[in-house]
């Protein structure tokens, strides 16, 4: 049984499917008259966001509140982190306040793992994005959205072709998605300019391509990644216009996709750069539905990690 959610690499197929199935059942709470369940009453969840975020933070907050947990929001700006407090001291403070779980977003890869491994606190740790490493809850909500639209009654994603396009180098979303989608049986292709692939990508369980147009006709779901200008301290492509021309999804490229294919984007979008406004607002785009599904999937994560009884120490 799981205690933390740090990385998709820690999950088995049955762990992942059980989170998706739980999310399916919890989605009906969001559709019901009363959007609230008593399940996590009396539990305290801390959102520790040492890096900017809109949707992940409010999504975790909405998920926790729908399960009746108490939520404490904690962001780097305006807290002691900006005065230089270490992660250890912050964690010990949270422990002293009796947090049952910490949802952590941090600019350093491995921050969530460090928090979980060092036993500075006894609660569960949920990785909400660590540097360029992983963003497991985003991958789970993407898999949930793809399964809902394309699995045709199947339990997993076997036979579905997913393409992830763009800034793979800086993307924790891409890494988590490649691991999860391939774990669930999907065929994954990454498309990016050679400068935006990380070292070692050849060992990932997916194919890689530099040519978007040749991949498009075979795709069931296409996920556009944000170009992360804030992490780019060197020049990775000559100009935004050139990137957009070769790797942006516009209406002409959308026309080459299969009829029932769907378009995903983890947000926030750079409209006009990796995705054009017409495509983002088209009927094939499931980008706002991803946000809705995100709440259900995060409720499922909190349920699986927190609803059960206390675990013996040392188990994960």
């Amino acid at each position: 049984m799981m205690r933390h959610l740090l990385s998709i690499a820690d999950l088995t197929v049955s762990d992942a499917l059980s989170i998706l199935d739980t999310a399916t059942e919890l989605a009906r709470v969001s559709d019901g008259q009363v959007k609230k369940l008593p399940t996590l009453r009396g539990r305290t969840i801390v959102n520790l966001f040492a890096e900017d975020s809109t949707r992940t933070r409010i999504s975790f907050e909405a998920a926790a509140k729908r399960l009746s947990a108490d939520v404490i929001n904690f962001s780097a700006k305006g807290s002691s982190i900006s005065k230089g407090e270490s992660l250890k001291d912050t964690a010990m403070t949270l422990q002293a306040m009796g947090a049952d779980a910490v949802v952590i977003r941090h600019s350093a890869s491995g921050a969530a793992q460090r928090l979980a491994d060092n036993r500075w606190m006894s609660g569960s740790v949920i990785n909400a994005g660590d540097g360029t490493h992983e963003h497991p809850s985003q991958a789970l909500l993407d898999a949930f959205t793809i399964r809902k639209h394309l699995a045709k009654g199947k339990h997993d994603l076997s036979g579905i072709h997913v393409t992830i396009v763009g800034d793979v180098l800086h993307s924790r979303v891409a890494r988590s998605n490649v691991l999860l989608l391939s774990l669930l049986g999907a065929h994954v292709t990454l498309v990016a300019p050679p400068t935006l692939f990380p070292v070692g990508v050849n060992n990932w369980p997916c194919e890689i391509s530099y040519d978007l147009d040749s991949v498009l006709p075979h795709v069931d779901a296409i996920m556009m990644l944000r170009v992360q200008q804030e992490r780019m301290n060197e020049l990775f492509f000559p100009s935004a216009r050139e990137y957009s021309r070769y790797y942006g999804l516009n209406s002409d490229r959308m026309a080459k996709l299969k009829k029932n294919s769907i378009i995903l984007h983890p947000g926030p979008m750079n409209r006009g750069l990796e995705i054009s406004a017409e495509v983002a607002d088209s009927v094939r785009s499931v980008i706002t539905e991803q946000v809705t599904n995100g709440v259900s999937v995060r409720m499922a994560i909190l349920y699986v990690l927190l609803a059960g009884g206390p675990l013996e120490s040392g188990s994960n």
Binding site: E25, V29, K36, L37, P38, T39, A307
Partner: protein
């Protein structure tokens, strides 16, 4: 292990419960049958089929999962959430019959009542169970009972249904 109800006993009990539900509610027009997964859901489907046959019109039926409202969630590892299907006509103003296999402490039914509150406000809520084994921990009573089985706390009652267990049978296990 001793057999408390055979397949034929179960079938007769469910037929009788179907008639009793119809008698109490003066027909099937305003009733909604909700089975509590797993075995209660199968029993609800059987009672629905039986009532539809007696009355000659289909009766509204579905399932109601209670996992998220249990009061013992923290005592065990997380449980799988089972499906809830509320009939399209809803439960607002209806006579809801909750159906479960065994009535024991009454805590499942308390959770079911809370869970119903999220769906709507029925006119009445009634309870049908295949077996009432006693030892209530809450002030809850069944309206329709297949069989009252006096048991000791050290015993366990096992309900097998053909849909999942391959045969219909209720047995009591353990020392008296």
């Amino acid at each position: 292990m001793s057999i408390a109800l055979s397949a034929q006993d179960i079938s007769r009990a469910l037929t009788r419960i179907s008639h009793e539900i119809l008698e109490r509610n003066q027909g099937s027009e305003n009733i909604v049958l909700l089975g509590i997964p797993t075995r209660g859901a199968h029993l609800a489907a059987r009672i629905a089929a039986s009532i539809s046959e007696i009355e000659g019109t289909p009766v509204a039926s579905g399932t109601l999962d209670i996992t998220l409202h249990r009061d013992d969630l923290r005592l065990r590892p997380p449980r799988t959430i089972m499906p809830t299907h509320i009939p399209a006509s809803g439960i607002e103003g209806k006579d809801v019959i909750l159906i479960d296999d065994v009535l024991f402490s009454g805590r499942t039914i308390r959770a079911a009542l809370d869970s119903l509150g999220e769906v709507g406000r029925p006119r009445t809520v009634q309870l049908a169970v295949l077996v009432d084994r006693g030892h209530r921990e809450l002030p809850i009573k069944a309206d329709f009972v297949g069989k009252n089985l006096p048991t000791s706390l050290s015993q366990s009652v096992k309900v097998s249904l053909s849909e999942i267990d391959g045969r219909d049978e209720v047995s009591i296990e353990g020392a008296n």
